[in-house]
Symmetry: C2
Subunit: 287 residues, 2 copies
């Protein structure tokens, strides 16, 4: 790897109730991805435990912790420093009276670059996130890491072109999404896997940059998480992927200079018309 490469690894695994087992499993897979040369390593959403938002249960709030005393963050900072890798870490954050679904991005020296709080909160059968999470107040961010500038959204954010574009406009060279998505318990014939990939592939093409997602696998109380984690390139071609049941890692590497030329050559950022985009920030129509 050189300073001009952008090397993204993805981690996919099943996760259970025991935090220590989950974190050890994820740490092992991060080490494996680093061993393959990945310098920015993406892990699944809320990997410390089961996907608790399946149901609305006040006891689950006890899983949250403030960032300054979070049980997993220090360990991941030490790991990032040891391996020299960038780690966007998804966790359940308590902040005063409220709770956020957050990502702390850790640079390759182990230092925290900052927190992003999930902006778009889903709600539906099996995904009762509005019960737990206050919609994030940080806005979208692009993080200048030692291994490239990355935008990190969280799961449901991945369906929103506005989030992708906001991160791209701040200089992101790739977009990353920790994820927890699977079957629809009350609509067993629905399978959103293809649409889930397509919308992110769309962000890759529209913003002319690689996109990566890391999802969990396995069944949790009747909900089957479908894995299918991937990295695609700036044209939307799949470069690395894992299946619906694979536990493991995958990685893809890109030339940063070639990506910059590609973005400039396509002219999307040259040709945008912000003065015509007022509807995107306006109120909903009355009709």
């Amino acid at each position: 790897m050189t300073a001009s490469s952008l090397s993204i690894g993805i981690v996919q695994c099943s996760l259970g109730d025991a935090r220590e087992i989950n974190v050890a499993r994820v740490e092992g897979l991060i080490r494996e991805a680093a061993g393959r040369g990945a310098e920015i390593i993406l892990t699944p959403e809320l990997f410390e435990g089961r996907y608790f938002p399946q149901t609305e249960d006040e006891r689950a709030f006890d899983l949250a912790a403030p960032l300054d005393s979070h049980p997993t963050l220090g360990r991941m900072q030490a790991l990032a420093d040891e391996l020299g890798v960038v780690l966007p870490i998804s966790l359940f954050e308590r902040a005063g009276q409220v709770y956020y679904n957050s990502v702390v991005t850790i640079d390759a020296d182990g230092k925290q670059l900052g927190v992003y709080r999930k902006s778009h909160i889903p709600d539906g059968p099996g995904y009762e996130e509005k019960f737990y999470f206050r919609p994030g107040d940080t806005g979208f961010r692009a993080w200048k890491t030692r291994h490239g500038i990355i935008g990190v959204g969280i799961c449901w954010d991945q369906w929103f072109p506005e989030a992708a574009r906001s991160m791209a406009l701040q200089g992101a060279e790739a977009l990353l999404y920790p994820t927890a998505i699977g079957s629809e318990p009350e609509a067993p014939d629905e399978d959103s896997q293809a649409a889930w990939r397509r919308v992110m592939v769309g962000h890759a093409v529209a913003n002319a940059m690689p996109v990566a997602a890391a999802n969990r696998i396995g069944e949790e109380a009747g909900l089957t998480f479908y894995g299918s984690s991937f990295v695609c390139d700036q044209r939307g071609n799949l470069c690395a992927e894992l299946g619906r049941d694979d536990e493991g890692v995958a990685a893809a590497s890109f030339d940063r200079d070639a990506l910059r030329r590609y973005r400039a050559n396509w002219g999307f950022f040259r040709d945008r018309r912000p003065e015509l985009y007022g509807k995107l920030t306006g109120a909903d129509p009355l009709d």
Copy 2:
């Protein structure tokens, strides 16, 4: 077809220098699509002639005309009225001292609903549109036609998630894009066909609505237009498509009530965060 269906037809063909031959060919294909039940029929960008923006030639400005005396518009209005179909018609508009790449959407009774002027103007080898077209000043629109509410962008607009979202937010039930795209004369190994479809499939998923594009085919002065016109559904599944060389029509029909339920059920419009989207309408960063 019932009042609750949204039935989209697409027309794909080669086009030459002779306006009368092109318009007659397109009219024949519109009749064919209407015969198959299509109620909203999309034709290629600037179908009256060759794709003149391949080169920068002042004589090509003579092809433009004001909307009130445009040589093809009246004929297309009569055709829409006769067949009872909606026709978004792409044309080269002269407006005072300036020139636009425009679409006039004609309702099923032959009346003009209004004009949209292409907002995003490409520029590169073989696609010298900035020489001809002033960037549009109309903003994005959704047209309430007798057969459904449609958003119509024009070609390069199709790469911009902002355009798609703006039309969706105004109530569009489907997004349509007349197109002229093909090979890259100075980069013969480049083939943008897959990325071109992917970015629009992304709009379909992100906005939970069908998307259609109609492109031309054939070679014009070394540039090969790749057809591949399509209609996809709200999940991004291809419902109707034409090949790289097919001259003809294709069509797909959707249940408007089912589409509305799908859009509501997915909650994308419920969960948007306009207060966080300021970057989309802001100035470019200095760094």
